[in-house]
């Protein structure tokens, strides 16, 4: 569940909402779905909130290995 992609989670959530709206469930099933939906929405919200602004440059060091170096945005401004 933790590895699920945001859009998958969102799609699943949407499906659950649709399913619930159709209402072809027993109460037990519906509660299960609801719980699953809440969990998914929590994941999505978390994903939305946990992102941090970060701009890196991809550079290769002398050994040819990749390194990420934070970008000094002022360098871009002319």
């Amino acid at each position: 569940m933790a590895e699920i992609k945001f859009e998958e989670a969102l799609k699943k959530l949407e499906k659950i909402v649709e399913d619930l709206e159709k209402g072809d469930f027993s109460l037990d099933e519906a509660l299960k779905k609801y719980q699953e939906g809440l969990e998914l929405s929590r994941l999505c919200s978390q994903r939305l909130e946990s992102a941090k602004k970060k701009i890196d440059l991809l550079v290769k060091n002398k050994k040819g290995e990749f390194e990420l170096k934070p970008l000094d945005e002022s360098k871009i401004e002319e």
């Binding site: 590895e3 992609k5 945001f6 859009e7 969102l10 959530l13 949407e14 659950i16 909402v17 399913d19 619930l20 709206e21 209402g23 469930f25 109460l27 519906a30 509660l31 609801y34 939906g37 809440l38 929405s41 999505c44 919200s45 994903r47 939305l48 992102a51 941090k52 602004k53 970060k54 701009i55 890196d56 440059l57 991809l58 290769k60 990749f66 990420l68 970008l71 945005e73 360098k75 871009i76 401004e77 002319e78």
Partner: protein, 443 residues
Amino acid sequence: MPKAPPDLFTQNTSLKDNRHIYTVSELTQNIKLVLENTFAQVWVEGEVSGIGRIQTGTTFLSLKDSNSLLKCVIFPSNLNAVKFEIKDGLKVICFGRVSVYEKTGQYQLYIEKIEPKGIGSLQLALEQLKEKLEKEGLFAVEHKKPMPYLPSRIGVVTSLTGAAIKDILKVLDRRFKDVNIIINPVRVQGEGAKEDIAQAIQDFNRLNQQVGMEAQIDVLIVGRGGGSIEDLWAFNEEIVARAIYNSRIPIISAVGHERDWTIADLVADLRAPTPSVAAELVIPKKEDVSHELDGFIGGLRKGLQDLVLSLDETMDDLIHRLSLNAGHIWELNRTQCVSATKKLTLLNPAALIPQYKTRMLDLAKQIYVRMDHLFKLKNSQFFGLIEKLSSLNPLNILARGYSVTFKMPEGKIIKEAKSIKTGDTIKTRVYKGDIFSKVTEVS
């Protein structure tokens, strides 16, 4: 003696000192000089035919028109600048010098520049490459990768100088300021640009293989700001097209302005008309996503609520129907019970008593009537018989004066005289009383 044949050589001996005899090389050299001096810089147009290339990279071809044919050579150094593919049948305008290839004594045009006739060189190159890649399926819709809905990391292949990167960062900051951006800076025009761009795309793909799931780059923006067709040319190069095609990371192309369509745009999974638009396409607005998510959460709550409400209603309905049915069943049972009781009452033997009584009385009455009748009948018969009997009573005959005689002591009625003998006692019954006699004579 025949006349000796004329000595052709001696005839000219007088000229011997004046004449100049070239060696082949000398003459060829001279011709070469003449040609090179005369045709050092010429433009010539014609149709390409018989094109071929040798291992060193030198290209041979002929230019022809309806009457003549001109042998031509292009050295690799001059070929590098040619963007389009030189093909047989192509009408071209060439610039170069005419010279002689001494070994074969062949004069030929050494082409320095070659342009397609009637259409720009770059344009033709573009058309040719487009056709080729199209055939190979590089533009095929089936190959286009879907865009991630909400990328965590966005890779950007562009120059750090210029409008494109500024526009992209600005728009991304506005839409979803928290996103992680990784820039692989490249030259986007001039020498080395196409190699830089292709390499940068490959680097991002390699990086993705080296890092874990949590650090994957989800999408690439490859592009640059506006410029002349020559400025944008790197994005029309085959090497760039192939790098885009081979990328496992979905790519949004963002080259120049709306009107600029490059081959990179055709191969990319999604084409953005400008870098700014690419930044808009690559990620949704954070507030839109939040809003959507809120909507879903609301929908989730409402869905459950509605379900509970509807279950509640269903339950009410069921209870209602249950009670209704119970009442109905009760009523039904009651009716049945009453009806059964009624039937039972009707079937009660006690209820039959009056009936039997009536019947009995009826029968008794009948018996009585019949008995009376019978009695009367028998009575009348009896009286009839009595009357008859009385009419038959011998006493009644006796009354009329007749008598009857019995032999005694047996008391047997005497009907014949011979049944008695003299001396027997007989009794004669008369109407009133009996007479005993002794027989004196029998006749």
